[in-house]
């Protein structure tokens, strides 16, 4: 009899002896596991907040050889009122920029747990733009094609959002791309005051 067969036998013996305990463990661990992967109310609030915070059309540069330091008001108004199509990457991966992590205040650094699983974003219910932007879920297969970026204006890639025990502090790293090779990532630290999230620290990480 091999070691594997012996181990199997032992497990079966344990299960038959402690049937009830095993059933209890399976039933109660599933929701916990699922809960870790579901979008929480706070996740949706923070995603919505960031989308409104960072979604702007690209501002034009000053003309060459100009000494102008201001753009015409009309142009600014039209830019700021532009409604955009925002795509969100459908997985909040548990990855984080290591060099950025080292720059975080201790209170935020310690709540990052990269062992937690990736959270899929299955639905956009509860993720809203108060500025009237249209939000869609990105297709991960189509994202591999260069042309896919023509279907939206901005692509957001959120890391998993980590919270402290009381859910009064949160950390997330956000990637924002205008095209495959035009974007940046930033780490945001949030604090909750009077039931509202606000950014208390932001750290720019990479560009592309």
């Amino acid at each position: 009899m091999t070691i594997l067969e012996e181990l199997q036998k032992l497990i079966l013996k344990f299960v038959s002896k402690f049937k009830l305990v095993c059933i209890f463990l399976v039933i109660f661990s599933l929701p916990i596991r699922c809960h870790l992967q579901e979008l929480a109310k706070e996740d949706k609030q923070i995603i919505s907040l960031i989308v409104d915070k960072l979604s702007f059309p690209l501002a034009p540069p000053p003309p060459l050889k100009s000494t102008n330091t201001d753009t015409a008001e009309v142009e600014i108004d039209s830019l700021l009122n532009t409604k955009m199509v925002i795509a969100i990457y459908p997985f909040m991966r548990s990855t984080f920029d290591e060099s950025g992590k080292n720059k975080l205040p201790e209170a935020f650094k310690k709540i990052i747990d990269m062992s937690l699983p990736t959270k899929p974003i299955k639905s956009l219910d509860g993720i809203l733009s108060t500025k009237g932007h249209t939000i869609i879920l990105a297709d991960t297969v189509e994202l591999k094609s260069r042309d896919y970026f023509e279907k939206f204006n901005l692509l957001y890639d959120f890391s998993r959002i980590w919270y402290n025990k009381n859910r009064t502090k949160a950390v997330v790293e956000v990637g924002l791309s205008r095209s495959k090779l035009n974007g940046f990532s930033t780490i945001f630290c949030f604090d909750k005051y009077n039931d509202e999230w606000s950014v208390t620290e932001s750290i720019a990480t990479t560009t592309w």
Binding site: K180, N182, W208
Partner: protein, 460 residues
């Protein structure tokens, strides 16, 4: 020193030597670049150079001549050479080039303290250049060679054809004899050793390094004491060497770029490096400008994108990560060059902010100020505006240069338009209206890209 007017007759000399290989005989022992008479020095680390530049600047202020010329000189680093026979120290600096013109600024200081500055301008003949697949070497150079004073006044303007002086344009100066303008020499360096039991030197069969030096020599007269013995009618030979600059720069890249690339990206990077084109030198090669700035290249994962990224948060230790390796060599090369541009801009601005670099990229700094203001006033303080400034600057300065570098990498297989789509990657939304890529052009370039994708085999 208004009294001391310099009357130069500057002639180009002679003796065109074809590219030649010098084999070090075993008797000469171990040779190294350190034994070369020229060496790269940095302004920030060399008080002698600082004094010389200061002295020249004072002279410019005193005579009120030459401010515009000096604005184009990159004083940050120089190739230094001492001519013991003439007792003159030569410093060669880079100057802002344009598409067809290469310029070098030469500062000369004699042992008795006299100081002079001149620009050497090589304007290549565009028609001749178009006929060449690659630059064939200085022995075949065709174009103009001008030697200019600090105020831009042309002292000598010589037409050069196939490496030979063909005449002068302005008649102020005249070459004394016909001959080559500059001479390019390739030198192979071999590693040799000798044992106590065997007095003979034993050298490796393959050279461990090849250096290239280009020397341009001219006859100098009425030098106001620049040449030993002084006197206005003194005649002597002087020379500058500048190609070694590029070679030394390339060698130094090895020391300051930490290369952790693997697989196809490594192969593409090595080919870009061996071509040592202008864009490569000015981006990744620029990191050797200051040993305080390191650049790491690696293959790996970018946290929030699947393509490539640059971490410039610590400008003294910039990291470029290439993630998407499943693409063509041309695609990878454009990624490396694009991220190299980001890295170099981070480096330049950091140096400027620390007061080391002169403000010779006013437009980039204007874009920084512009996009910062935009973010703070109209967007959000946490918006990373630097990226928009970088891309706007790339649109204005680098699209054709990236395409040209890719074309060179691809052995000039197709016309430049076939490489433009790669160069526009990441920049299609950037730039002001007149510089933006139109939809029609974008489609046109994308169609051509399919041809290059199907036919280019650079690294497998």
């Amino acid at each position: 020193m208004k009294k001391l007017k310099f009357y130069f007759l500057i002639f180009l000399v002679i003796n065109l030597a074809c590219e030649q290989e010098e084999t070090i005989s075993p008797d000469e022992g171990i040779h190294d670049i350190a034994t070369s008479s020229s060496k790269v020095i940095f302004l920030s680390a060399d008080t002698e150079l600082q004094n010389s530049v200061k002295k020249l600047s004072n002279k410019v202020i005193e005579t009120n001549k030459g401010a515009s010329m000096l604005d184009d000189v990159d004083f940050d680093r120089a190739l230094k050479r001492y001519d013991a026979a003439l007792k003159i120290t030569y410093y060669t600096f880079s100057m802002k080039p344009d598409e067809l013109t290469t310029r070098k600024f030469v500062l000369r200081q004699s042992d008795n303290g006299n100081i002079l500055g001149h620009a050497f301008e090589f304007e290549v003949d565009a028609d001749w250049l178009n006929e060449q697949e690659v630059f064939p070497g200085w022995h075949q150079y065709t174009g103009w060679l001008r030697i200019l004073e600090l105020d831009g006044n042309v002292l000598s303007e010589n037409r050069v054809e196939n490496g030979q002086v063909a005449g002068t344009k302005n008649g102020k100066q005249q070459a004394s004899r016909s001959g080559p303008v500059c001479e390019r020499t390739y030198t192979n360096w071999y590693s040799c050793s000798r044992f106590a039991s065997d007095p003979n030197w034993h050298c490796e069969s393959e050279p461990y390094r090849t250096t290239v030096s280009t020397e341009c020599t001219w006859e100098s007269m009425s030098h106001d004491g620049m040449l030993p013995g002084g006197g206005h009618n003194k005649v002597g030979l002087e020379s500058i060497d500048f190609s070694e600059w590029e070679q030394t720069q390339l060698n130094a890249v090895e020391d300051n770029v930490i290369n952790n690339l693997t697989g196809v990206p490594l192969c593409v990077y090595n080919k870009l490096k061996s071509l040592n084109g202008n864009l490569f030198k000015k981006t990744i090669g620029a990191f050797i400008d200051d040993p305080q700035y390191d650049l790491t290249l690696r293959t790996g994962e970018c946290v929030r994108t699947d393509e490539a990224c640059t971490d410039g948060t610590d400008p003294k230790n910039i990291i470029i990560t290439i993630e998407n390796v499943n693409q063509s060599s041309l695609g990878l090369a454009s990624l490396i060059l694009h991220e190299g541009l980001h890295a170099e801009m981070h480096r330049y601005v950091s140096r400027y902010e620390s007061g080391v670099d002169p403000n010779n990229r006013a437009r980039l700094l204007q874009l920084y100020a512009w996009y910062k203001k935009w973010a703070l006033k109209y967007q959000d303080k946490d918006y990373n505006w630097k990226n928009d400034a970088h891309h706007a600057y790339m649109v204005e300065n680098y699209v054709k240069k990236v395409a040209s570098a890719l074309r060179q990498l691809d052995g000039n297989q197709f016309a430049l338009d076939y490489y433009m789509s790669y160069a526009w990657d990441g920049l299609r939304d950037s730039g002001y209206a007149a510089k933006k890529l139109s939809k029609e052009k974008n489609t046109y370039y994308d169609n051509l890209r399919r041809t290059t994708e199907a036919n280019s085999e650079i690294c497998k």
